[in-house]
């Protein structure tokens, strides 16, 4: 099929429909409104559910209920709204419910702003709510990648019985790019949802969806069961891309739309004869530690670039284990860095040696 030009928020909505989403529940917030608006129009055409809830808190609990009933569900929001959903997300991880959650990030803290940001990195990659849990978190850099990952993310959520977070920003939500919706994406081997409270108890025992374990021994057992999933994510499902790393003297670490800006910086540096590479995490949880094992000896410095004041840099420090000097360049408040700013930073680092 030919590519179609679509706005990011709408493309992500259509990707969810193509992935067989049964229901969308959500609440308006900028800059993700085109996603629920698209859903309100098109879910109906497919005989599926769209409902605008009274709050983000209600929306995520509707997601909990429908996921518990065995449906494929998706919600979307932006940073302050995602913060409100954290209670429900923690309950879903605890009750082992699959869902896809799209966070079209904007500047914070508080009401913050509405321009693009990556300020929710820590909230996303540390679980976000109470307790010992994580979200499989994907950070696409383009609309094609966002669409492909959303199509696959429903399978990933079902496989792990855990929410998947699609971490994008206002830039990806608002931009238009040509997208091919028919590209093949990996299909995961999924068991039947025999655990679901689906309103059809004929021929089976009752099912219970629950995150309450009053006996500490039971809860510890449960927490360790959850940990196994996160260990599997870390062991087998890290995703990343290495760009121009072969002969690189310095490597940028950047995700999402920031990585895209850095691609231009790398080209500009190349024109000046500077070999700059990039590690682009596609999963921000699990953090792609394996990418750092592949750094060639030629790389003398790491430069972390983010649209925040420095959050992923802590993960880079953990996996770097003190081996290479780590530098940081960030813009926050909704400002997207220009490629030239990063070029200057790279030159500053290299000239400083």
């Amino acid at each position: 099929m030919a590519k179609v030009l679509m706005k990011g928020n709408e493309a992500m909505a259509l990707a969810a429909i193509k992935a067989g989403a049964d229901a969308f529940y959500g609440y308006p917030i900028t800059p993700q409104n085109e996603l629920p608006e698209y859903m309100s129009k098109h879910m109906k055409e497919h005989g599926r559910v769209f409902l605008q809830s009274e709050s983000e808190v209600a929306a995520i609990n509707m997601i909990y209920g429908a996921a518990g009933a065995g449906a494929r569900v998706i919600t979307s929001s932006s940073s302050p709204g995602i913060a409100l959903k954290q209670e429900g997300i923690s309950y879903m991880a605890g009750a082992e419910l699959p869902a896809v959650i799209v966070n079209v990030m904007r500047g914070g803290p508080g009401l913050g702003g509405i321009q693009p940001s990556q300020g929710d990195y820590k909230q996303i990659t540390r679980g976000g709510g109470n307790g010992d849990y994580y979200l499989y978190s994907l950070a696409p850099e383009s609309l094609q990648e966002a669409v492909d990952l959303i199509k696959e993310s429903f399978d990933i959520a079902d496989y792990f019985r855990n929410p998947v977070m699609i971490a994008v920003d206002g830039l990806i939500g608002q931009m238009m790019e040509p997208v091919d919706f028919e590209l093949e994406t990996p299909k995961w081997d999924l068991p039947k949802k025999t655990w679901a409270t689906d309103g059809n108890q004929k021929g089976r025992d009752k099912n219970i969806i629950n995150s309450l374990y009053l006996d500490p021994n039971d809860l510890e057992k449960h927490d360790l069961k959850l940990k196994k999933k996160y260990d599997e994510m870390k062991r087998d499902h890290q995703r990343y891309e290495l760009i121009n790393m072969d002969k690189a003297d310095i490597a940028i670490v950047a995700f999402g739309s920031t990585a895209r800006v850095c691609r231009t910086s790398i080209q500009l540096l190349e024109e000046e004869g500077i070999n700059c590479g990039m590690i682009r995490p596609i999963t921000i949880y699990p953090f792609p530690s394996k990418a750092f094992d592949e750094i060639p000896k030629s790389v003398k410095d790491l430069l972390v670039v983010e649209m925040n004041t420095g959050q992923m840099i802590d993960d880079v420090k953990i996996v770097n284990e003190g081996k290479l000097p780590i530098h940081f360049y960030g813009r926050s408040g909704g400002i997207v860095p220009e490629a030239e700013e990063i070029v200057e930073k790279v030159k500053e680092i290299m000239g400083g040696e």
Partner: protein, 182 residues
Amino acid sequence: MLDEKLIVAGFGGQGVMLTGQLLSYCATNKDINTLWFPSYGPETRGGTANCSVTISDETVNSPVISKPDSLMIFNKPSLAKFMPKLKKDGNLVVNASLVKDLDFREDVNVYEIEANDIALKLGNLKAANMVMLGAYLAITKIFTNKEIVAVMKEKFTGEKAQFIDLNKQALEAGKKAVETSA
């Protein structure tokens, strides 16, 4: 090699976003890489609305255009905001009906198009953006008016379909304005 970076800027309501989108739709139809990114939120309501459009044979990387090849400027505040960023020898297409008596940079190619006046003569002020687009296409030649009209026929359905003829005339008028001033 085609690698055009354009910023379209003006007031909300002047059709700035649509002007940029038509170019991206046209690129998509021709299987050329493109990226359209708008300013959004309260800024666009009454303030300056703008969009960045990249059209390229290469993969589009940074969505942010720091040094545009061309500018389509619909009002004075937009000129102040974006003219300093324009590349040397870049194209500065201004709606001269609204942006007049200003100092333009001397190291760029300035095209003053009386877009509002031309659109009014055609019977609808709202077509001023298409006059500007027609002028831009005549200068850069990245697409033909015919190709843009084909996109309109695809996208302007229902009540919007009635504007296709007017827009077609506006595109031609914009083209003519450039050709006669050259």
